[in-house]
Structures are given as C-alpha cells and as structure tokens.
C-alpha cells in the first residue's frame, strides 16, 4: 500500500513557504500575484494556506500589508520590513546549514 506523503510534505513545506514569502516580498506584491509567481517557478500551494501565513508574518512585523483602494476593488499589498529582512537572512543561513548537514549525511550513508 502506498504511503500518503502529503502530511509530511505539508509539515516540511510550512517553514519553507515562510522563507519563500520573505524572499518574494522584496518587492510589493498582492496575494494572488504571489501564488501565480510561485506556480511559475513550479511551487504549487493552496491559497488558503498562503493568506493565513501572510497574516501571521504581518502580525509579527516581518511584512507590512497595505490596502490599495485606488482601483474598483480593494487589494492588499505586502512588502518585507527591516525586521523581516533580518529574520530572512538568519533563516536562510539555517536553511543552508541544514542543507549542508543533509548532503554530508547522504554522502556518508552512500559510502557505507
């Protein structure tokens, strides 16, 4: 019987998506545009996962949201903050370190 990996993938993607968003929001973007850009890069995600994440990051002051009401329909645009950039660089450092550890372990395991 095939094992359903989706719960494991969801767990793993949670932190990764956070970093992706912080990288993506170097420029002003709204939610749907982010989803589309990530899809173009081959990363599919559910919108109802992205938007609560944006809210949590906004609450923690890592991104800033602003409603644009100049068009006929209001849109909320997000951009990274100074604190967000600091957190992002630290998260990326952790991610790179984890990647190195994983690669070393994989090499060692293959050599056994």
């Amino acid at each position: 019987m095939a094992i359903d990996i989706s719960p494991f993938a969801t767990e793993m993607n949670r932190g990764f998506l956070q970093v992706l968003v912080l990288v993506l929001l170097e420029k002003n973007m709204y939610g749907y545009a982010m989803v589309k850009q990530l899809e173009e890069k081959g990363y599919t995600l559910e919108e109802n996962t992205l938007y609560p994440l944006l809210r949590r990051l906004e609450k923690k002051g890592l991104i800033k949201g602003k409603w644009d009401v100049s068009k006929d329909r209001p849109r909320k645009f997000y951009v990274i903050t100074k604190d967000g950039r600091t957190v992002r660089s630290q998260l990326l450092a952790i991610w790179r370190q984890q990647n190195d550890i994983l690669n070393h372990l994989m090499e060692e395991t293959q050599n056994v």
Binding site: G31, K36, E47, N48, Y51, P52, R55, R56, R73, R75
Partner: protein, 192 residues
Amino acid sequence: MSEKLETYLDEIRDYLASSKEKQEIIAEIKSHIMEKTEQEFGEITEGTLEQIIAIYGSPRQVAEKYMDDYQIIAPTFKGYLLRYTAVLFAVHFTLTIVALIFKIRMLVLPFFYIPKMDNFQALFYFPMIFIYDLGLVGIILYYVTQSRKDVRLPWPKLKLNWQKISKSRQAKSKIIPLILMLMGYSALVWIY
C-alpha cells in the same frame, strides 16, 4: 455582493474566535476570492464565484488555518484539566455527601454552594457538579494559557518512599501541618 459569497464569509466569521481581527480577515478573504475569480474566469458572476468558493475550502477549514496559533488551553496544560477536575470533584463530592448525611446546606466561598437536598435529588446533583468543576478548571486554565506566562502548575509527585518519609523529620514537618490544615478546613465547613 454575491449571495453565495456573503453566506460563505458569514460562515467563516462564525468560526473565527478572535473578534479583534475578524473584520480584517473577512475583508482579506473576500478580496482574495474576488481577485482569483476575475483572474481565472475574466468575470465575476454567481456561477464563477461559486466555483472558486468550492475550491477555496470549507468555511471551517479556512477559519482553522487562521487560528493555527490560537489555543484555548495550551497542550501542556491539558493533562491538568482532568487531574484538577478529579481533585475538585472529589472535594465537592465529599462535601455533598456530608451535606446529605447531616441534612444541611453548605456554602464554601467563593465557588461551592451545596443546597439542602434528599438522596434522590443528589443523584441529579452529582453529574451537575462534575460539569461545574470541569468548567471551572477549564476557565482557570484558559486564563493561564491566554496570559502566555511560563507558569508551572502545581501537582504533587506521588513517587513516595514511605520508609524514607517515616524516618525523615523534614517530610513529617510538611505532612503534619497539611493534615492539621485539612482538619481545620473540615471543621470550619462543619461549623458553618
């Protein structure tokens, strides 16, 4: 606004516990759904909105994603819910039995009031006090959780070595006052 969308947002609103952010969250979800509908179908109609709502997720699922970090009682306190309820219920139960035997009513401030009742009425009273005690402990643990303080809840460690205790003066000095205090407490309740 579309009737379907309005109903959908109303349902999400009902599930969201945080009243402070409800309005903002609903405005965000509405904006996202409208945007997606327009981008995917080129127009916003009842039919196109319905299709997007169907894939957006059930109202409960959507609301839950916004409440990931919201806890009524912290997982670390959940074990205490039943433990404390059991202790409280034991006290409440004992006092009720005393009240029944001596046919008196009891008021133990600030939480307990045990009315004068007969045995038949007591049968209905016991399940009620269990629910009351569970609720009371739940409320206290809720406030402790919301305070977000690193609180260590008291609970006696029951791995007791009775031989050591009987020899230890320090242990005796703790247990004897505790027994005296319980006796005094019982006497106070009795006098009242």
